[in-house]
């Protein structure tokens, strides 16, 4: 692996390191992890204060709900349930009713997944809005940098040929078989990665911010068009919840892919920027 050796002397296969992620991408990625973790867990605390979702401008106890996490008093023990669009399923132990100090207690999300663990809307809101600000500032830093540096255009925007059904179909098959790009192809994101990251960066995350802001009576007075776009404060609240669920799903798949396609190599590339690629050589 002598750097000065001529091409003839390089022994293949060999491992080369490339610079995968810029310092801004790495920094904002981890700050984003921190922010989204706090936002999700404090968000569930806030949800617990009124565990029902509605469509439209208004919605409260008497109005038809799209989603309810609740508890029925059947006999001496309360039974937790989730009801979505009229379909009800029992969820005792996790949703609706879960243990607090060993006692089955009525609460939508259980104490091990909310910040704070005990029921306290005021404290949950403090955590949520603090990290909401940090998240927005961090997001703007990332977007500004990515636009100016060309990261979005160069690394994330898919090329036309990558969007052909045949190409995409092949990539879906490869992913399903856990065959990940190697060598030269591993230098860049594949098109499924590009499309997913773009969806998260320009659709899901901005949607979280905008639906969050739409729930604010102060922002609604200043920017009335927000409520118009989403069709009501309660619709915005419901979309906020659904989009957050989408982000959780993304994180689950993302982390699984990180683990399956080379855990330490991937994590290292997001910490130090260095990413190892195995080169099979010109004749391979």
């Amino acid at each position: 692996m002598n750097e000065n050796a001529s091409n003839d002397n390089i022994r293949y296969p060999r491992t080369v390191f490339i610079r995968r992620h810029s310092i801004i991408t790495r920094f904002t990625h981890w700050l984003n992890v921190l922010c989204l973790s706090f936002l999700l867990l404090s968000g569930l605390q806030i949800f617990n204060a009124h565990p029902e979702l509605y469509w439209g401008q208004y919605g409260a106890d008497g109005d038809p709900a799209f989603l309810t996490i609740g508890a029925d008093d059947a006999g001496d023990k309360p039974q937790g349930f989730v009801r979505i669009a009229g379909l009800k399923s029992p969820t005792t132990g996790v949703l609706g009713v879960s243990n607090v100090d060993g006692e089955p207690t009525k609460r939508a999300f259980p104490e091990w997944i909310t910040i704070p663990s005990f029921q306290d809307l005021a404290v949950g809101r403090r955590w949520h809005f603090f990290f909401a600000w940090l998240f927005v500032i961090n997001g703007l830093l990332y977007l500004g940098f990515s636009l100016v540096s060309g990261h979005l255009r160069r690394d994330l925007a898919p090329k036309t040929e990558e969007l052909s059904p045949r190409h995409l179909g092949q990539e879906v098959l490869d992913h399903a078989r856990l065959r990940f790009p190697k060598g030269e192809k591993a230098r860049h994101y594949n098109s499924l990665q590009k499309l997913t990251y773009l969806a998260v960066i320009v659709v899901l995350l901005p949607l979280m911010v905008l639906t969050g802001l739409t729930m604010s009576p102060g922002v609604d007075a200043a920017v009335p068009v927000l409520v118009e776009i989403f069709g009501g404060r309660q619709t915005a609240r419901t979309i906020h919840f659904i989009t957050a669920s989408g982000l959780v799903l993304f994180v689950v798949v993302h982390v699984a892919m990180v683990i399956l396609s080379g855990t330490w190599n991937n994590i290292r590339s997001m910490i130090t920027g260095r990413y190892a690629i195995r080169e099979e050589g010109p004749n391979a």
């Binding site: 806030i46 401008q57 008497g62 704070p116 809101r125 729930m215 102060g218 200043a222 404060r233 309660q234």
Partner: protein
């Protein structure tokens, strides 16, 4: 394969362990006063940003009759539990007087008839509870700005404090008494009214009879019910918990624009 399994077990184990640590850590951190202060700083940022976006005049959206919620949830106190209030209710608030004092030029009392003789405003607006639900209702009342004009503000007046008849928490020292405060920007806003009517009827007991505040660019807990006295102050630091309201003294934001 075996290293992979250990690695996976390690990853799962450490993630679960870390999140449990993080969660209980947050409970402790959230109660630490320094951390509390840092988290609290977001409120100032929110208020400044919203006020800058709004300017003074931006109006909350007003709806049509057909948008009114079929049922409007009664929240907080559903009926103040005191002999004084029971008596007022019995005589249909004939003897109720709104006392306006503090840093005003001409302190005085207003009867319900006095208030109804002042120019009124009617608005159909959305009420947003801090818990997350919303209800739309039609409110009729006196713009607070008009009332403040009648009594005249002293130059040092900065906040309007609303003292209420309801005790949301029964305490010996009276600190469970509901109160709220807003600054003069919100007090002078055209949609800030002292409402005596709701959905074309007199305000019901559940919704704050005889008089409640509507400050439409903020959340529900700012909309004080059962108002007995309006006091103009230069600071609310000396009142009860010192945070400017019943819920504010229990950890909620004074600026409830989000």
């Amino acid at each position: 394969m075996s290293t992979f399994l250990t690695r996976r077990r390690f990853l799962i184990g450490s993630t679960l362990g870390a999140s449990a640590l993080m969660l209980s850590g947050c409970d402790i951190l959230g109660q630490n006063t320094d951390v509390e202060e840092v988290l609290h700083s977001a409120e100032q940022l929110t208020m400044k940003a919203q006020r800058a976006l709004q300017g003074r005049g931006a109006l909350a959206r007003e709806f049509d009759e057909k948008d009114i919620s079929p049922s409007f949830r009664v929240n907080g106190t559903s009926a103040p539990d005191s002999d004084e209030y029971a008596q007022l209710l019995e005589n249909k608030f004939e003897t109720w007087r709104l006392k306006v004092d503090g840093l005003v030029e001409r302190p005085r009392d207003f009867s319900l008839a006095d208030l109804k003789n002042l120019p009124a405003r009617t608005q159909i607006t959305r009420h947003d509870c801090v818990e997350g639900w919303s209800a739309i209702g039609k409110w009729t009342g006196v713009p607070l700005a008009n009332l403040l004009q009648v009594v005249g503000l002293k130059p040092t007046a900065r906040y309007v404090v609303l003292h209420c008849a309801d005790e949301l928490e029964q305490t010996l020292d009276g600190s469970g008494r509901y109160y709220e405060s807003i600054d003069l920007i919100d007090a002078m806003h055209p949609q800030t009214i002292l409402a005596y009517g709701m959905n074309d009827k007199d305000l019901s007991v559940g919704h704050g009879a005889p008089l409640r505040l509507r400050v439409e660019r903020q959340l529900g807990y700012k909309q004080a019910k059962y108002i007995m006295r309006i006091e103009l102050v230069d600071s609310f630091a000396g009142l009860w918990g010192g945070n400017g309201g019943f819920w504010e003294d229990r950890g909620y934001e004074w600026y409830a624009g989000i």
